[in-house]
């Protein structure tokens, strides 16, 4: 079951920080990050990739 992070309406770096906090909490499984701008999507993707 995936964890959903609701980050729509938030400006960076908040979606990124919420993503990183969730990655720290969840060891396994899928995390779905909800964003509503392309910039947030890129920033979140980049941050997630940097976590491996």
């Amino acid at each position: 079951m995936s964890t959903i992070v609701e980050a729509r309406g938030l400006s960076c770096p908040q979606p990124v920080l919420m993503t990183l906090n969730e990655i720290k909490k969840v060891n396994k499984g899928e995390i779905v990050i909800m964003v509503d701008t392309d910039t947030s999507k890129e920033n979140v993707s980049r941050a997630a990739q940097s976590q491996g």
């Binding site: 770096p13 990183l20 941050a47 940097s50």
Partner: protein, 183 residues
């Protein structure tokens, strides 16, 4: 009280913007501003990168403010490295704004510094850069890909890999972050 600290208190530095005739160097693009700033600072000159006054309609979004008394020396140094300003004008008003104003926000485990239009965020515990955002310049994705995930002290400086106003602003945020994190 030790003599040195007494003497130190008596010394007053005169800000660049006061009691000194100033001029501005206008360049074609931000890369040239960054190059010129590096060169002139290396020479020990008291210069500052500023936003241009409204009457300057040419050039890029940044100008270099300098003491007019150093004009010939500065132009010679820039000529040596083929960085040529498109205008050199005396400053006649106080409308210049420094671009080194910072906004700092603490997110608990993370700290963000915004300089002009760029935000830099690091993890306070690990000092790893976690986010670089805003700006809208074409080199921001590249700057982000080169810096995110790296320790603040290991990441390349935006000055060395950036080419735009965003790179310049990010450099300011990066330097401010380094200063704050070294305290």
């Amino acid at each position: 009280m030790p003599l040195f600290s007494f003497a130190k208190k008596k010394v007053k530095s005169i800000p660049l913007t006061q009691n000194q005739d100033r001029g501005i160097l206008v360049f074609e693009n931000t890369s040239e501003v960054i190059r010129a700033e590096n060169i002139l600072k290396t020479e020990g000159l008291k210069i500052r990168v500023m936003g241009p006054p409204p009457e300057i309609r040419t050039g890029c979004d940044l100008v270099i403010e300098f003491p007019l008394i150093e004009k010939l020396y500065i132009l010679r140094k820039l000529d040596e490295v083929r960085v040529k300003p498109i205008q050199v004008v005396p400053v006649s008003n106080t409308l210049l704004k420094p671009v080194d104003l910072f906004h700092i926000k603490d997110f608990g485990n993370y700290i963000m510094i915004r300089a002009a239009n760029m935000k830099l965020t690091i993890d306070k515990e690990t000092m790893i850069i976690v986010n670089i955002s805003d700006g809208g310049c074409p080199d921001v994705p590249y700057l982000a890909s080169e810096m995110i995930g790296k320790h603040l002290s290991d990441a390349p400086s935006p000055r060395s890999i950036g080419h735009t106003l965003c790179g310049y602003a990010l450099q300011l945020a990066y330097e401010e972050m380094q200063t704050r994190c070294s305290r």
